[in-house]
């Protein structure tokens, strides 16, 4: 176990190094960062002065080492837009995104596991067909469009919930449903197929031969084993949500999370803020991946020896 954790930790370090190289390449080499940050009407002298002031005229490797050194200290520079340290701005927005992701993931798990299990118990029934097509629909609907349609129906017409903003549960309902649609589809599909797999296994025959009650067979035996891939997928969905899927939803509902911040930073060409945002999200995602992997290894010893 210890060896596995150490190996897995090293891998996370590699991911963070990879991300920092990637962020550096994107922001310093794909375009001219000084030109990007300055307004269009800036003169050539202003441009050169700014370039020098920000250190963009130094050799690339020096810029890279400076970037890494500052990033390790959590210093991404001040946001051009808010005139505050970029990292603080990102950390301020983080709780809103975490809340949204937590609520919508819980919603997805609560809805999709029973649906998938019921569909697996009666394959090819009407419920099964509806579930399969419904989940494919959930996977196919663009979340930002679903958000706009929910606003139209439940905020503009019926006025049950608020169109946008942050604060009360009335603000939370629509974005949480919007964000949950895709995970619901995915998890229902996997719950159905993994439950079906378990129901076909020989130990089910044994359980029936022993004369166990059908409910015990299904919920105590089959469901427990079927939960492993479901939880794996659930964890993966959380990392995907954090890794950028919240951006569109937060934009639609003006939800003040890191996704909306990224868009605001991009609109204002605020390079330090973009860097800090991508970096924090990447750290969060790889930290979560690390945690999930160690959990799997703890619960499923086979993983440790791979």
């Amino acid at each position: 176990m210890q060896r596995y954790v150490i190996r897995r930790l090293l891998y996370s370090v590699a991911v963070v190094i990879g991300v920092s190289i990637f962020v550096f390449v994107i922001t310093h080499m794909l375009g001219d960062p000084a030109r990007m940050m300055l307004p269009l009407e800036a003169t050539e002298e202003e441009y050169l002065a700014f370039r020098h002031q920000m250190g963009f005229d130094d050799p690339l490797h020096i810029q890279f080492f400076r970037f890494v050194r500052d990033a390790l200290r959590g210093d991404f520079g001040d946001s051009l837009w808010q005139r505050e340290p970029a990292l603080d701005l990102v950390l301020e927005r983080l709780p809103a995104t975490l809340l949204l992701v937590a609520i919508s993931t819980s919603l997805a798990l609560i809805i999709s596991i029973p649906l998938g299990v019921l569909a697996a118990l009666k394959p090819r029934s009407l419920l099964d067909r509806l579930c399969t097509i419904g989940s494919l629909g959930g996977v196919s609907i663009p979340d930002f469009w679903l958000g706009v349609m929910l606003i139209l129906v439940f905020a503009v017409h019926t006025r049950w919930f608020y169109t946008s903003g942050y604060g009360t549960w009335k603000h939370l309902v629509l974005p949480a449903i919007t964000l949950a649609a895709r995970p619901i589809g995915r998890i229902t599909l996997i719950a159905r197929s993994s439950m079906m797999d378990e129901l076909c296994k020989p130990y089910m025959v044994t359980a029936r031969a022993k004369g166990l009650k059908e409910s015990v067979i299904i919920y105590r035996h089959a469901l427990r084993n079927a939960l492993i891939p479901i939880i794996t997928l659930g964890g993966w969905q959380v990392t995907r949500l954090l890794a950028g899927l919240t951006v569109a939803t937060e934009t639609v509902f003006a939800w003040p999370g890191v996704g909306l911040l990224a868009i605001q930073a991009i609109e204002r060409r605020d390079l330090p803020l973009i860097q800090a945002d991508v970096f924090v999200v990447a750290l969060l995602v790889s930290g979560l991946n690390l945690f999930l992997d160690i959990c799997y290894a703890f619960f499923d010893p086979r993983i440790r020896f791979e």
Binding site: P142, V156, C200
Partner: protein, 317 residues
Amino acid sequence: MQSGTFVAERGEFTTGGRWPAWRAVSSLLGQLVQDRVALAGATFLFIVLLTSLFAPYIAPHDPTVQDITHRLKPPFWLPGGSREYLLGTDQLGRDILSRMIYGGRVSLMVGFFTVLCAGGVGTTLGLIAGYYGGRIDNIIMRLVDVQTAFPGLLMALAIITMIGPSVRNIIIVLTINGWMVYARMIRGTSLAMRQSLFIDAARVVGASDRRIIFLHLLPNLASPLITLGTLELARVILAEAVLSFLGLGIQPPASSWGLMINEGHTYITLAWWLVTFPGAAIALTVLSVNLVATWLRAITDPLQRELQYGAGRRRGR
């Protein structure tokens, strides 16, 4: 009783005929007709494909021509609507239906080329990793692992900000974002296949590595690759829509379904049709692609076929 030869590795009968490709297509179509849901999806996709290909001939109006006197007209069945603008007009008086037809062009084109590029890069690297193994395999797969852990969409947004939004750049960014899936799948399958007899045989007769990889390994990976490509097409169409919705994809005055939702969603209280139709177009197209992909996986993979069509029988309760 079927007549013909039994093709063991495909597990199906083929009837005699002169053109194997045509035979494969007609047998596929025959199976498609039997699955009504998949058939509906394929038909819808075919219609979208046709309207996109022949957009200039089908679209009733020029998608970029503005006409302020006719702005925010509702669809034809509502009071105030006219048959001239079947699905109504937007805030600048442009015809929604025409913009949707042209927008479908963009979605399909971006989807198709991205799948082609990402599939090409991923498959090549996957084949190299799987066939050679050892250190090169290690390097490629670590790269795949590291990049899979990246916050993909955020990275894509950052790249687009630096290199500027255009159709070409969107395809590049989505390729960077999507090649890993192919590499991982192809590497796994070719690793297993490397040990098989026909690869040894090819090596014994002196075939070069490149010949073995592209003429022996690759054709055997075609069917999982096509299924994965179809699934990825759905993901890419959605990704393009998100980018365009966020204003970092297709730029006005050109049209794209995601962009139409971006432009229309501020008018939502005045005109629901601005966002409803393009969004429905995305959802239905992606759903159709997903249905076709599910069906493809079911008919090409015996295990999946059993799950989809035979589970009730096997459990036999």
